[in-house]
Symmetry: D2
Subunit: 505 residues, 4 copies
């Protein structure tokens, strides 16, 4: 997971290495996650000597069979002379959109061998570079764009690289295009352009962004990856005209049938639109948008059940508001999966790309802290600025032992635990489906002491009234701190309600 | 194989259909061949009802596991509602470069079911369209191209589509660029431009084209597919600077490490070069090229051991010469694998793309006749012009029973058998490796009678002196004719001799 | 297919060998068939040098991926020192029940290498030997057997080895047990015991044997392989108490839930029953069995629409009767799939095991002739006695070019073609399902001339009246002869009618 | 891992369940371990609805592809009517020797569906029962056994089930057969028979048992699984005559070529030997064995560098001795992988089967605590007796968060950490191979506080002099306690030294 975050943040493949057998198999969830989210990673794994590979012996395992389905490339070095080119291919493939994981298996006896070919120099393996879409398609899109009554910019996971973000901002600076993000696109819209931003969408079709998408007569889907938010969910009426702007052709489907495809460099194609569009319909002042604008910002002033008085637990939105005040746009915030991720990815503003990180494809529990460690280590100089991570109490336990790594590496991280002693996101969905929950109760851990056992600073926050002070203190602490917060999930069920139905008006 | 040739010739995926079990498995070699050669094919196969798929029952088989490695996409319709989009994906994928095979498995009970989604209209599934390479790469290539001392155009399998061929010809019309083809690129260079053509390369590095490649300081590899002629063979010194012009990034390797990649539409990128190049070095009048030019055309006047006198068998080059005289540039000539394919693909001129067909990736025996049947059936109107096919006597038997199809479908095909009663191409390679041959002796079939048993016309040609007359007669016959020719393979071993060594001068 | 028949007939794995790419993929249907039918085969295939296996190059293919699903063992020799033990494992696995296919892939460069281990001596690799079932199970079965009111012996594919057949006959000699065979068990019941034999079952549940099974209160399923005749078909009421006697545990299923399992050596376990059973209920003189006995033998006197007068085509049952008269119990009869196989496997008597051969698992078209060639070559001395094969006109064409092999190898084979110029078995099932047929019309081949083109003797038989004479002549001819018979399939639809319904009485 | 230990201890498959995506992939190491060690487990995993399985959507993953290579059976319920029989097969397969893992994938929409078949009753799915070997083999072995000069009993993983252990003890009670165990066979020899026990072998060929094996002229390998200790290691001279006594045929190999195989029920076949053997050569009083006997017990009186004085860390053998004194033969002791496992599995006595548990196939870090939790929960009544587990400080962190489960479930467990702040087993092997170590330094965790944060009791032991007291206290504590011990690994390198060479005398 650290390698994945390294790859996502820097654009350069993160590397992880493991021995044979369980060493290799332990990588599977991290690699699966990286591969699904499009994070460039190269994994090097060992295996028994070739002459033993038909036998049962210590740690014999079909590593490529197990890791292959979790990667874009899984290949063995079967003879020493392949080493240079296989490693090169692994790095190239990992960095080629849609990006992801390359696994290289190296049998023990090959590891000891010699190759007649030297390793390729790093300069020799730039990721492939792409250009402009087919002129016929570009022209078609240009015309549709200029004549659309309500065009919308829909930014996906592959709209989050710095080069694409630059192109997005150029387009928005010139044309007042209402913009919706998936969770992974967080930060694509800058603070200066936030008036065009109508929030993020994902999971439940009940957001302001969903309403805009559902009325648009031209959705420019930029770097959209359906793994985050499948079209079955946001386009069940199959009525949206979509332009697919991405490195690769779309997976046509009954719910996603683009009217045009701009293939190639996403940035180049956006720049083409920016440069060649004369004008577009400006809806942002319409009643519809004004209403949505109001709706979108309404949560900020919601009278939530908890505030800073009494002994109430902390309401999620209170936390979001208070954290927002305490971080700059350059702070990296890593969010684990769970109810915490729905709140954060919906309501937390990010104004720079790859600063608000989560797992929105596999929704893998446990990414919060490892992502934060990687974010800290990839800073220049390493560990020079505070990184924030957060998770539920359940998700935290999936990787919390990495606190020892964070402390050893001298990271500067504050990790917040939204603690309700249960798997809340599972719980409320179980209740929606079955009218009861099962197997979700947790609890019994003193997280303050837990953090301290690793040499980290621990905080325990029982009521909302302590929130601001503890937050200040923990964020001010240079090193690793863990804040255990009693969270108020009484309204969490709302996150999944009021789903937009077909024929919504 | 017919579906493959249909796909290759028309650009529209050929479709084949098979029942469960051996029905599906019988497709594997045809699909493997199509997929390797980049021929668009959609294969629909059946399987036992889903509820039986964990049991042993009649014709139970893991069709997708068997056919998957022979295709680019292998997918099942697991529930009826997937039918429309899975079929659409299959066609899209088959027609997207590098093109190839999509396999769709449909369990028996799903076949009988109903879907709530209608099939996609054909217009809805154009293959993806690609555009221009990254500007930085184009610019770099432009500069290299203009300053190269000996640039060479190296056309591969994906340079054989009509749209790419048009772009190639535009480039050559403007700039005197020495051109070399792989076997699959046959026909890219028109008759008007044949003075720039230095032959085809493949199999053994001993051709005029190989000599040019080995001296070039800039190889423009256009739609090059290493499966035809791997770089290990033509670039063992690892010294050629190559520009990779293709739909997809190159498979970097120790022997193929392009200095630049022009990715996207091959035609668009060639057109860019044509339009933006000011001038290139013209070598075609140099001593080097004049020598090669002479060498290349020398075979045409070779005193071959057989001619038209006496009772000698027919020399391959005599055949090539005589056939060349009797076909127009629009005649489709389908060549099966074997020694016949080395002679034909090296020495037979083709001036239009996809008129000289072979299998140069899998080198699959038996493609000759089925390719010819497809070529005949895809004519407009069907079977309206003579199609020529040829094979060795060994390869012929791999698919010769399809004569009944050719006759039933009223095809107009003349099939020539180069008959030496052995697997000659295996034989001479066995002799090169082991000093003896084994398991290659054939014979014992009366091909004239064999042809007649299917209602085709049969000819038997014992000596070269009959060649011209029989050829005229067979080619003049409207319908299916088979000509059994006693071939003279005494010089076949030469095809593999005089391989260019490292440091050649 | 020849290797499969060699393995089936001799019990020693047949071996086939193929080069890389299509060489290997061409094996898939033969291997799939062998593996499904339990025929021991070892296939050796080549592949590109290891250092090329990540590249596209001539005939690169994932041979083990393609052939793996068609085999019980698919393994590569990745380093030379594995050669001896991998080959040994391949032979052992192929010969271990349930028997089947082992594929060994040998990369080109490994083929040339040296191993420090010598090959295992043949004596070192006997197939594993099995013994008696668990005593608790044996005892339980003994009791059930002795108290059953209507026990039935149901012989399957793995009851066809000589050693099991001997045990079966011992049991039947001692106890009057009504016996039913699957197609592959043909010949298990000797001529002396034929009064206990109530025919074979398969495909359609409308046979005498089906009626017996449906009333039995104890089915002794011996070496039963559901691939031949799945329990869903013969036990849809889920009411039969079955004892599973086989080398391996049963695949429990909703339609096949044995009340006991006798695992281990099938012969040993049968002998145990024979030796330890005191007495069983004898039903063979009951009204029920007398009626069935009459029914079973009724077809022999059926007034079929064709006989020996006029110009009528030959009725299948007439053929069966006439052939039966002309062969001894030691004659091997190889039956291809199609309507011919339903008639033959139902109505043709065989009194020795592995003398009446077919493909009843994959139902693979084209097995008839290759099986006959193998049967001929495995005779001692080779080709010393007449072998009979037969096929439909459609199935014949799947492997008919092997006539050249049969002639070259000096086989003594008479092949009968039941010719109705269509795929009749598909045709009548299409008509049953859809009320019409499609894509089944064949014809246009002069099979007499076809046979002659290979140097075989050809016969064409237009009407039934010539049948006996031509049959005598063809069977009397020493060498390869082909008899093209106009067959009368007007009653073929009956083969699938009168299926026994639930609650039948 | 808990499910695996449940399966191993009770013989009844443990069950684990996981949601789609990372839920399923997180199981892989646990399942791989269980499958390799032969622990019966059924894993139920979810996946996206079938109609979504061709799309990228939240948590889409090829679960069966990833988990398949870690299991013996991996199958999906593709339609609801398969549910009953697929679940039945999963349980049957898991419990059939060699036992292991069955994975069942259930798509979301199938989970909600209905089947027309009820679940099978538990009584309906006994694991298959096996019987006696082939008489010819039994007889052969009997003769070899009686005439062997130095027969040795070599007990492997599948000799550890209660039923086999009973048979082993019967044999040893009657015949004085020197006995060697693999690690997984621990406990097969009872306290009464310990005079015949010459220790366990594994990892490095330098044990007393190895010396005996290397001189034996008849090794009775009972339930031997090469995954624990491959024959390449213990029989490099290829000179041992081995009798393979197991449920399944051996994997013949150059280093393991049994002279005979007794297949079927291991217990039945041992009982056969016991009952039919008249006498065997008794070597146990020979000089050779007396010397080995002395050698084997020598470690117990070794003057180790640490004892109970001063501030020295605890020597491993001191720990072993002291723990041995404090547990009964019925105490379950769970040992994690690492140097701790080499010491414990070599030197800790166990007198009942499945009381000394480890992972000796995959050597998976982290099994210690989860195994202990399962051991505690499977007690009758649950958690009624102390369970001991131990691990290194590195391995502990792989699953230490399960302390919360142990506490919640009210387990009675004492877990010892052999803490040297490094991955010692990797470290000393790195030093042996490369002369230096890399990436093995750990440390920085206060395990006492760590344990307390979960509500467990924590102890920290700095010097050997506290050992006995803390051990007493921790083992006396009812509940979960963790003891962090500073261990003395200064002699760990010895574990891998003095490996027996070819030609040893």
């Amino acid at each position: 997971m650290m390698a994945a975050a390294h790859g996502r943040i820097t654009g350069i493949p993160g590397v992880c290495i493991a021995t044979s057998g369980p060493g290799a198999s332990n990588l599977v969830t991290g690699l699966l996650t990286a591969n699904t989210e499009g994070d460039p990673v190269v994994a090097l794994v060992g295996s028994v000597p070739r002459a033993m590979n038909t036998h049962r012996t210590h740690q014999s395992m079909k590593a490529l069979d197990i890791l292959g389905p979790a990667s874009n490339l899984a290949v063995g070095i079967d003879v020493e002379d392949q080493a240079a080119e296989v490693i090169l291919s692994a790095f190239r493939q990992a960095a080629t959109p849609p990006k992801g994981v390359s696994v290289v298996n190296i049998p023990q006896d090959v590891q000891k061998g010699n190759s007649k070919f030297a390793a390729f120099r790093p300069e020799a393996y730039p990721a492939p570079k792409f250009g402009l879409a087919a002129p016929s398609q570009s022209q078609k899109v240009l015309e549709m764009f200029q004549s659309a009554k309500m065009p919308v910019l829909f930014l996906g996971a592959r709209a989050s690289s710095p080069i694409v973000v630059t192109a997005v901002r150029k387009l928005l600076s010139k044309f007042p295009l209402p913009t919706v993000e998936t969770f992974q696109a967080a930060g694509a819209v800058s603070k200066e352009l936030v008036h065009l931003f109508y929030g993020r969408v994902g999971l439940f079709r009940n957001q302001t962004g969903d309403k805009i998408l559902s009325k648009s007569d031209l959705v420019l889907a930029v770097g959209y990856d359906p793994v985050e938010y499948d079209a079955f969910t946001w386009n069940p009426e199959r009525a949206r005209p979509v332009v697919h702007i991405d490195y690769q052709p779309s997976d046509y489907g009954v719910y996603y049938s683009p009217v045009a495809e701009l293939l190639g460099s996403v940035a180049e194609n956006l720049n083409f639109l920016t440069e060649n569009t004369r004008s577009i319909t400006d809806n942002t002042q319409s009643e519809f948008f004004k209403t949505l604008d109001k709706e979108y910002h309404a949560w900020q002033s919601l009278p939530t059940t908890s505030r800073f008085d009494g002994d109430l637990p902390v309401h999620p939105l209170t936390f979001v508001t208070e954290l927002q005040k305490r971080v700059s746009k350059d702070t990296t915030v890593c969010v684990d999966v769970g109810t915490v991720y729905i709140y954060m990815m919906r309501y937390f503003f990010a104004y720079e790309p790859r600063r608000l990180l989560c797992s929105d494809g596999q929704q893998t529990l446990g990414v919060g802290l490892p992502f934060a460690i990687a974010a800290s280590l990839t800073q220049d100089p390493p560990c020079s600025a505070k990184v924030v991570s957060m998770s539920g109490d359940g998700g935290f336990m999936f990787s919390s032992n990495e606190l020892v790594t964070a402390v050893q590496q001298k990271c500067n991280i504050t990790h917040f635990i939204w603690n309700d002693s249960s798997y809340n996101m599972v719980e409320f969905q179980e209740e929606m489906k079955y009218g009861r929950s099962s197997g979700v109760k947790l609890g019994g851990i003193d997280f303050k002491k837990y953090a301290e056992s690793f040499g980290a600073r621990g905080y325990r926050l029982e009521s909302a009234k302590e929130l601001r002070e503890v937050m200040d203190e923990a964020l001010g602490f240079e090193g690793v701190s863990v804040v255990d917060i009693r969270i108020d999930y009484s309204e969490a069920g709302k996150l999944a309600r009021d789903v937009i139905e077909e024929g919504w008006n």
